[in-house]
């Protein structure tokens, strides 16, 4: 929305409007955002307590641990993506708007990622230091999360749409979505491994980028279809 009275009806305008709205709502409930972040931090910090403090072991495990924790954290926050709008009827209005649903879904996913994915990317290097990762490992960890977490949000949107209003939806969504996260996990953690062993992470990062493009094209449509089915 530009100014009062002049509403931007273009696709870009609709996208921006959804993002701005969702960000405003998220800022009013900051505790939700912090919960995901703290979950991530706590899970990553639990592993050394379970495994033991030998730095050599921890260094090997670090990429996998951080990535699995990121998967779980982004999965936990999925339920929030549509459920509030579903409960207060906003979602129904959204399905009735003339703007194509995939664009609106994309807006919601982007806002969701800004709130729940980006903080993970920013704090991950700090957690990597706990595991004594070398600088190039820390860099690739952050970059791989930067490219990979949007894919998680995009795929997760499909699961969140399908389980909308279903009893036990929170646990169910993990069953649906986690198997689909596996390629992202493999190449995300693998990239950090490769960078640390001096092989270079370019191939991994390119493939993650390819996943992101594919998910950007396909996931909003699938999530839109899922929302329509759930709202019927």
């Amino acid at each position: 929305m530009n100014r009062a009275g002049s509403v931007d009806f273009s696709l870009w305008g609709a996208f921006r409007c959804i993002v701005a709205r969702d960000l405003t709502l998220a800022m009013r409930r900051r505790a939700d955002v912090l919960t995901t972040l703290f979950f991530f931090v706590i899970v990553v910090s639990l592993f050394p307590l379970g495994i033991g403090p030998e730095m050599a072991t921890l260094r090997i495990m670090a990429p996998g641990v951080v990535w699995v924790a990121a998967l779980l954290a982004s999965m936990l926050s999925l339920e929030r993506m549509f459920s509030a709008d579903y409960r207060d009827g906003t979602l129904e209005q959204m399905l009735l708007t003339p703007q194509p649903l995939p664009v609106l879904v994309l807006g919601k996913v982007f806002a969701h990622w800004l709130v729940s994915g980006l903080p993970l990317v920013l704090i991950a290097p700090l957690l990597g230091v706990q595991y004594d990762l070398p600088p190039e490992g820390l860099l690739i960890l952050a970059v791989s999360l930067l490219v990979g977490t949007p894919v998680l949000s995009l795929i997760g949107a499909i699961g969140a749409g399908l389980t909308l209003g279903v009893r036990g939806g929170g646990v169910l969504v993990s069953l649906l979505v986690l198997p689909l996260y596996i390629p992202v996990l493999i190449f995300g953690a693998g990239g950090v491994d490769a960078a640390m062993s001096g092989l270079g992470a370019q191939a991994h990062l390119s493939l993650l980028g390819a996943f992101l493009l594919g998910a950007l094209i396909l996931a909003p449509w699938a999530a839109g279809a899922a929302l329509r089915i759930s709202m019927e």
Partner: protein, 247 residues
């Protein structure tokens, strides 16, 4: 040649009596493939010079693994058809295939473990094929639990159809990434022995049992569809008549 109107059979009412006639045929076919398959597998195929008798597990392991993947693709095809053409029967076929597909996935893992213990010395290795099979089982579980969680049959069918289509797009990507991951970590895993060069009799046994599993799947899926039709259409006039007749 008389022209058959195939679309007639896309309605549950017209299909129901046809199912009743088809199930015995596919049951007979399944048995007819199983018996020679087992005969070839146990009595004609010679023992493998490396693996001894334990390789006879392959005669059901490989067909089960093939069927588990094949059923997922067919299921996604039916689910997509049900979604696009809005035909109830296709959705019912999709949901009828899922439990059998999951069963074959489990059997592929189970027989794989029992074959791996004497051959590799461990029940489980993180080999690319085994890992992909495990992920396939997870995909089946997701499909089944989504369907079970939604009470309204139409929404359940459509939602799980979307999931099946997303899954079928993802399967090649998952398989490729697992394979990549496996070759990268080659040092940690046990190198998998290649399948032995197969004698013709071994191949025959494997193919016969594959067809047996296939026919079994069709028979069981049709049985399940029949129950499904009766459950969903229990208030209609024709079901009342059909039940009266079969009594």
């Amino acid at each position: 040649m008389p022209k058959i109107n195939w679309f007639k059979y896309s309605s549950p009412q017209a299909f129901y009596p046809l199912i009743g006639k088809m199930i015995p045929w596919f049951t007979v076919l399944a048995v007819a493939f199983t018996l020679p398959g087992l005969y070839f597998g146990f009595f004609v195929a010679p023992p493998d010079y490396q693996q001894g008798e334990s390789y006879r597990i392959m005669f059901i392991h490989v067909p089960a693994a093939w069927m588990s993947m094949f059923i997922y693709v067919v299921m996604a095809g039916y689910a997509g058809m049900g979604l696009v053409l809005n035909s109830r029967l296709s959705s019912m076929m999709a949901s009828a295939l899922a439990p059998t597909g999951a069963m074959f996935t489990f059997l592929a893992l189970w027989t794989g473990a029992l074959w791996g213990k004497p051959m590799w010395g461990t029940w489980w290795v993180w080999d690319a094929r085994l890992t992909s099979e495990l992920i396939l089982l997870f995909l089946y579980i997701g499909f089944l639990s989504l369907q079970a969680a939604i009470d309204e049959p139409r929404r359940a069918a459509r939602a799980s159809a979307v999931l099946a289509l997303v899954g079928v797009v993802n399967i090649p990507i998952i398989y490729f990434s697992v394979k990549w991951w496996n070759t990268l970590h080659q040092g940690a895993s046990i190198t998998v022995t290649k399948a032995p060069t197969m004698a013709a009799s071994m191949f025959t046994a494997m193919i016969l049992l594959t067809f047996a599993f296939w026919m079994y799947t069709i028979a069981v899926a049709l049985m399940r569809v029949r129950c499904e039709i009766l459950e969903r259409e229990r208030n209609s006039e024709w079901v009342a008549q059909a039940v009266g007749r079969s009594r």
